[in-house]
Amino acid sequence: MTDHELVGKVGRVTGRVAPGTVGEMMLPVRGGVEAFYAYPADGLETIEAGRRAVVVEYEPPRTVMITAYPG
């Protein structure tokens, strides 16, 4: 398992991602789907639950920086 396996992956936000709070998103990894803590990559963006997002950065063990995925 390496970092690059997560960066670039697209998943769905399951907990609202916004500045000042901890969001959550589901990502396919190791043959399953796991929940990761999510923060906005630019620190400002707000991504509502249900939206698709792309992992920009991975912070082990279970934190990802994401940004909204268009579409």
Binding site: T2, E24, V29, G32, E34, P61, R62
Partner: protein, 456 residues
Amino acid sequence: MLMYKVAEPNEALIISGWGAHSGPTGDAAGLGFKIVVGKGALVIPGLQTARRLSLDIHEAELDVQCVTTQGVPVGVKAVVIYKIADDFQSIANAARRFLEQEDQMDAKVHNVFAGHLRSIVGTMTVEDMIRNRDKLTQATRESSAMEMQRLGLTIDSLQIQEIGDPTGYIENLGMPEAARVAKDARVAQANADREATEAEQEAEALKAAARSQSSIKQAQVQAEAQKAQAVAEQAGPLAGATAQQDVVVQQTKVAQLQAELTEQRLQADVRKPADAEAYKTRTIAEGARDARISQAEAEAREVELRAAADAKRVKLEADADAERTRLTGQAAADATRVTGEAEGDATKAKGLAEAEAIQARAKALAQNQEAVINQQVAEVLPQIVAEGAKAFGNIGQLTVLNGAQGMTDLMTQMIASGIASLPTLRTLLAAASANGSAPVADGTATAPTPKAETQA
């Protein structure tokens, strides 16, 4: 084979010892032990140690007294479902903390989460806890994310099972709604009850009407049936009566015929003979009558003739008698007349003689009036005395005081009074004689007598 260890899908092999340091590079480098997941690994006995770390799901039950952000004390019962995360970093963190102590993991996590839950509840309201599940998970993440990562755990779920409500907040929270719901329920129930009652009553009315109509129809049908039955029951007697009537009619006819027969028979047997008999009798009677009439006439004639003969005879006899009687009477009359004439002559001669006597006496009296008066007084005196004595007859009881002497005196006085009246009487008689001498002879002489008596 004993040296080859296989990790089950839900566990990780933690191999430490000789050669285990040469693990994966990168972040896992310098880990100090080897983590094997989902595959097998050779473990050299004596030099290496392999321990299993379960990646199973764990559950910790929490019962924490908390205060909400509104300051409402609540007792929260919650369940935390967590597991050791599947990535190497998390497994390494967890292995360092919980390896060989997995049975204590629940207690430790419980203590950690008690604090977390208290802080989570402190950021929420009761309403959020009840309704806002997203906020609960959000708060859970915010408060426990970093610590969970440190422990190599991941929280699959946090469930609040029960919220104790010692102050009745939740109860009061739901009360308006409960009241409204209860009201709506009652209203709905009342409406439904009313509608049901209306429907029932309408149905009852319809049923009653139907029952009534049914009863009416039944009664009608029953009446018709009874009528028909009565007619049927009467049909027998009626037919019987009709038949009997016919029988009676026929019997009447028979009787009439018999009567006619009898009449005819009587006509033939009785009347005709009777007529004949009557005729015969009448004829006989007429004959007899005629005979009797003839006989009577003959007898009458005979009687008549006889009577005529008798009459003639009687007449002749009467004539003879009459002639004889007439002759006899005539003879008697002649005799009587002769006798009467003779008597008349005798009487005449006698009367003449008396008249001459009276005349002579009157002449004599006229020559001596006093003597006549005395004679008349002497004739009248007894009457006077008798009339005076009548006065004593009217007296009921006469008391004479001097006894026999008194009685004699009384009588003497009475006679004396009568005698005393004699001169007066004599005067009257004289006057009367002077006026006419004739009246002295007849009964008028009694008239002065009562006068003399009253004067006495």
